[in-house]
């Protein structure tokens, strides 16, 4: 996956986890939590979907890497490069 593909994969997951949130105006560099309503339960779901869809494991200690869309892309691209 390219960085662009990783970004859309993450956006797709957030859309499924939080269908009532509007993602059209998300700033990639700002924390997701500050822009849309996402609590720790929702972050868990994002992690679970990454595992389910792409077999990517995100250990609990690394959840902060998913803070913003940009950090998600940086963190996940190496893990998803062969997918």
């Amino acid at each position: 996956m390219t960085e662009e593909e990783v970004r859309s994969a993450v956006v797709k997951i957030i859309e499924d986890v939080a269908p009532d949130e509007d993602l059209s105006e998300i700033d990639d560099n700002k924390a997701l939590r500050d822009q849309i309503e996402l609590d720790s339960m929702d972050f868990l779901d994002i992690v679970m979907e990454l595992r389910k869809r792409y077999s990517v494991e995100v250990p609990e200690a690394e959840y902060p890497e998913l803070n913003s869309l940009a950090s998600c892309v940086t963190y996940l691209t190496p893990k998803l490069k062969d997918k």
């Binding site: 009532d20 309503e37 595992r51 389910k52």
Partner: protein, 453 residues
């Protein structure tokens, strides 16, 4: 309810899940049954925590998100209004907290500033930390806030009835949770009652690949050191599992473990049980001026929420009119449900020793219950076409709850942990009560032990 929610969460993320249920229908304390061609709900007066679609951060919103169920599927219809009726005092509330504030300002003008402080406290209270321990009970806390005992009791009345496992009081954290869910958020009802909710949950569970075995309760758990290694069922199956989540109650669950003696069982034995009568009417309940969705009442000078000395305590209770919600179409048959505190032991002994007397006592207690209600409400007996009554014995029989205790153990196990590594509990004894509470409990426990760990 909590069990199926836990099952949905785990199966959704490809865990192999099997639910074992003793009964032949799902739902537990909030199930349904048919009698004489009528459909009845066991519980369901009101779904608490009602908020409109899209309300940010609300428990109901989280619930739908976590279960990936569309908000519309529960078909929730908001209440008209509800009331708390005491001798010479009446407060009303709707799903708009301003209404209650105005009602309190009118009935208790000298306490309104304190009331506003109470709301500030409730809104700022953190009830997400599972291992938080409070030193004060709700009543001790309220005694510091208000000087008027009647107001304190009028606030405690609906909250204890809808969720206290202890007598005449409640745990402070529980009080805050219940306050938010009933008096700040509010009540609703699915058009078709609890069946609607159960139908949606069951469908979702099947869709995500969960397995459901009905009439196949757990009879025995086998342990090896700190692990449960085998699950034995009524149909003589033996299952194994990495994780066992039990919604059968803390003590009930430990009692299933072969050769294990739970410590201090009295501590985990609840006793608050209820009798409920369902009166079907030939005319709308509103013809008799039953306009509220729910009425919580007390006819004594002081409100008592304690085990009944007699078969029932008719002097306090809950009246529910399922037709008084903003339903799309009027309810098929008008119904009034009345709940009173009831003494488990008296009912259980009578049922065991003299079945005829048991049935007579049901009728007697029903008449006593009505007589008390008719002291402050109109008499509707002329319109009654059919009645069904259930007692603490019925509750025990169909749900397994020790002592028919609807709200389970007086001591809650918020972390869900048991002395066994792969056995946790969810639901009533974890401390989340009511339908929405139970579902949220199932979600949080399965997240914590099934997904994160």
């Amino acid at each position: 309810m909590s069990g199926i929610a836990a099952g949905i969460r785990l199966a959704m993320f490809d865990k192999k899940v099997c639910i074992l249920e003793s009964h032949y229908v799902i739902g537990g304390l909030n199930s349904f049954y048919n009698m004489k061609a009528r459909k009845f709900d066991v519980g369901l007066h009101a779904v608490t925590n009602y908020v409109p679609r899209g309300t940010k951060g609300a428990p109901l919103t989280k619930l739908f998100r976590q279960l990936r169920i569309p908000y519309e599927d529960f078909k929730l219809k908001p209440q008209n209004y509800s009331e708390v009726v005491f001798p010479n005092k009446r407060i009303t509330f709707t799903n708009d907290p301003k209404h209650l504030e105005e009602s309190i300002a009118k009935e208790f003008p000298h306490q309104i500033d304190q009331y506003i402080k109470l709301i500030e406290f409730i809104l700022s209270y953190d009830n997400l930390t599972l291992d938080k321990v409070e030193t004060q009970t709700a009543r001790e806390f309220l005694n510091e806030v208000f000087t008027d005992q009647t107001l304190i009791e009028m606030i405690l009345c609906p909250l204890t009835y809808y969720g206290s496992a202890i007598e005449n009081d409640m745990e402070l954290g529980q009080f805050v949770t219940m306050y938010k869910s009933i008096l700040l958020e509010g009540f609703a009802r699915p058009d078709e009652g609890v069946r609607q909710i159960l139908k949606v949950l069951k469908k979702k569970y099947k869709e995500v690949g969960g397995e459901l075995k009905l009439r196949n309760g757990v009879t025995k758990l086998i342990r090896k050191n700190e692990l449960i290694t085998e699950i034995h069922t009524e149909k003589e199956e033996i299952l194994t599992a990495d994780l066992i989540i039990s919604s059968a109650g803390y003590l009930n669950t430990l009692n299933l473990i072969d050769g294990y003696e739970p410590q201090t069982p009295q501590k985990f034995t609840g006793m608050m049980s209820f009798m409920e009568s369902i009166s079907c009417l030939s005319k709308p309940q509103t013809d008799f001026n039953y306009d509220a969705s729910i009425t919580f009442f007390n006819t004594r000078e002081n409100y008592l929420y304690e085990d009944a000395k007699d078969f029932i305590d008719p002097c306090s209770g809950v009246i529910c009119s399922p037709g008084n919600y903003q339903l799309d179409k009027p309810i098929d048959e008008p119904v009034i449900r009345i709940t009173n505190i009831a003494n488990f032991k008296l009912w259980e002994d009578l049922k065991t020793n003299d079945i005829d007397k048991y049935y007579h006592q049901k009728e007697d207690s029903y008449q006593r219950s009505l007589k008390e209600v008719f002291k402050f409400k109109d008499d509707f007996t002329s319109a009654v076409t059919f009645t069904d009554i259930f007692t603490p014995h019925t509750i025990k029989r169909y749900t397994g709850h020790i002592n028919g205790a609807v709200y389970g153990s007086p001591v809650k196990t918020k972390t869900g942990k048991t002395p066994f590594d792969n056995l946790v509990i969810c639901g009533t004894d974890q401390g989340f009560l009511g339908i929405i509470g139970a579902i949220l409990s199932g979600i949080s426990i399965s997240n914590l032990y099934g997904l994160v760990k």
